[in-house]
């Protein structure tokens, strides 16, 4: 059932064209933040207005859409956005990663390997990786233009000096194509290696900040580190209580008042696609 009175994908064609033009620029300059005329969307900032506008601009009638929120297909945000697109485009939706051609995500990269026919759209709250270190936006833009990123390493240096290790466990800064410093949106550092040379196109949209950026297929993406303190993806040292996986990223659940902790896969599709409770050796 397609909602009457709306253009395909909710946005009007001129807006979609404007966003596509910005996307082309973003793909041509991997990791560079392209300003765009972000529209008011029928949901609040912080709920994925940037991601929705990007999805609306690239989606076509033959696409199959999957939406995840922290890896899960069944949370309010994911369900609402999936239903929204089904109503304004009529496209098929799915919870299976392998079947989707467009995956809109908040804060996770699916566990399954993505292919060339897929597009991953990230919802980004803060596109600027330097914003906690340099409060002036004009200055951060100058630093990007001149590739002057010593400050980011100072932050990592301070972490190691104070805590013995880099304490950033999500939104871990990356260098894209050896040129632009990029915030991977707040995905866990565990997911950072998946960005590197991914066959799928990755699009990032920040609605409130009115910026979008992209990582084209097979682009090198390197997490910042020191030679003697290499980047380590962090994962809870436990197995999923549902599927027993020791390789996937886990959510921690407190299940009773005694503080009993359970770990479950954050990627619900990955978890459901595995035979239940077989502890694997890996």
């Amino acid at each position: 059932m397609i909602e009457q009175g709306y253009n395909f994908g909710y946005l009007d064609e001129n807006t979609k064209r404007m966003i596509r033009r910005a996307l082309l620029k973003a793909v041509a300059l991997p990791g560079y933040q392209v300003p765009f005329g972000s529209r008011e969307m029928p949901l609040p900032y912080g709920w994925g207005t940037g991601g929705i506008q990007l999805t609306a601009s690239v989606i076509g009638p033959d696409d199959t859409l999957k939406v995840i929120d922290q890896g899960a297909d069944d949370t309010t945000n994911a369900v609402s956005i999936r239903r929204f697109f089904h109503r304004v485009t009529g496209v098929a939706t799915t919870e299976r990663t392998a079947e989707a051609t467009i995956i809109q995500t908040r804060h996770r990269v699916p566990e399954a390997t993505l292919g060339e026919h897929q597009i991953l759209v990230y919802q980004v709250p803060m596109p600027e990786p330097l914003f906690r270190l340099e409060p002036r936006v004009a200055e951060t833009r100058r630093m990007h233009a001149l590739a002057d990123y010593g400050l980011m390493h100072v932050k990592l240096y301070e972490d190691i000096a104070r805590h013995g290790a880099v304490t950033t466990s999500y939104n871990y800064p990356v260098m894209v194509n050896q040129r632009y410093l990029m915030s991977p949106s707040p995905i866990p550092a565990f997911d950072n290696p998946k960005l590197d040379r991914m066959p799928a196109l990755q699009l990032f949209g920040a609605g409130r900040e009115k910026r979008l950026y992209a990582v084209p297929p097979y682009t090198p993406v390197r997490s910042l580190d020191f030679e003697d303190h290499p980047f380590v993806p962090v994962r809870a040292d436990a197995a999923c209580v549902i599927c027993g996986s020791r390789a996937s990223y886990l959510d921690e659940l407190i299940v009773d008042d005694g503080g009993t902790r359970h770990f479950v896969c954050s990627d619900t599709d990955y978890c459901a696609s595995r035979p239940p409770l077989q502890e694997d050796a890996a």
Binding site: Y157, E158, D228
Partner: protein, 251 residues
Amino acid sequence: MTALMTARGLELRFGAISALDDVALEIHPGEVVAIVGESGSGKTTLLRVLAGMMPPEAGQVLYRGEDVHAMGEAARRRLMRSDWGFVHQNPRDGLRLRVSAGGNVGERLMAAGARHYGNIRTEAAEWLQRVEIDPARMDDMPEKFSGGMQQRLQIARTLVTRPKLVFMDEPTGGLDVSVQARLLDLIRALVAELGLAVLIVTHDIAAARLLAHRMLVMRHGQVVEQGLTDRVLDDPQHPYTQLLVSSVLAA
């Protein structure tokens, strides 16, 4: 010997006030040049124009034959990170107060491409020792340091990448005399050891005598007299220089 930096015909006005009026100067490798003069005579403005932080209205600044104000901002920043250093009068302008002392020294190394944590730390510790800061305080925040220590930390941070030319804007301003004396001693030792060219702005004639090989006296944006330090101080020719020299208090 070719000059490291040459400036010609520099002009800059702030409204009706002439901050720079046809100023020319040369700095040779390994030479310490002092710019003295009263407040408002254009000393700091000259320093900022020479360091490429402020464009002049007329005239040229050449660094190794290249026009500092004609080159792109990227090239100028590269110079600032590698060949040049700038020591501010107020150490709080030159330091990151929320970053540890080691991080402050390491920042320039990392900006220059150092990516080995252990080496950065060793080098930072070495430099802290050279400027007489206990390496045990490496992970302390500079805001907890005394004024003299902050200034020494700023010097370590500036010199760690071994620049060829250092601009110093009243490095001893605001420090008490015994701390000043130690700082001057330290600067003198480091300059001699590293063969730095230094352009130092000061209103402290005694400091200039101690550090500088050559001296420029500025007044109303003009260089009224220049020459070897002892010549200018012991045999001042211009009436203003004579006034300046005779105003120095002897303890």
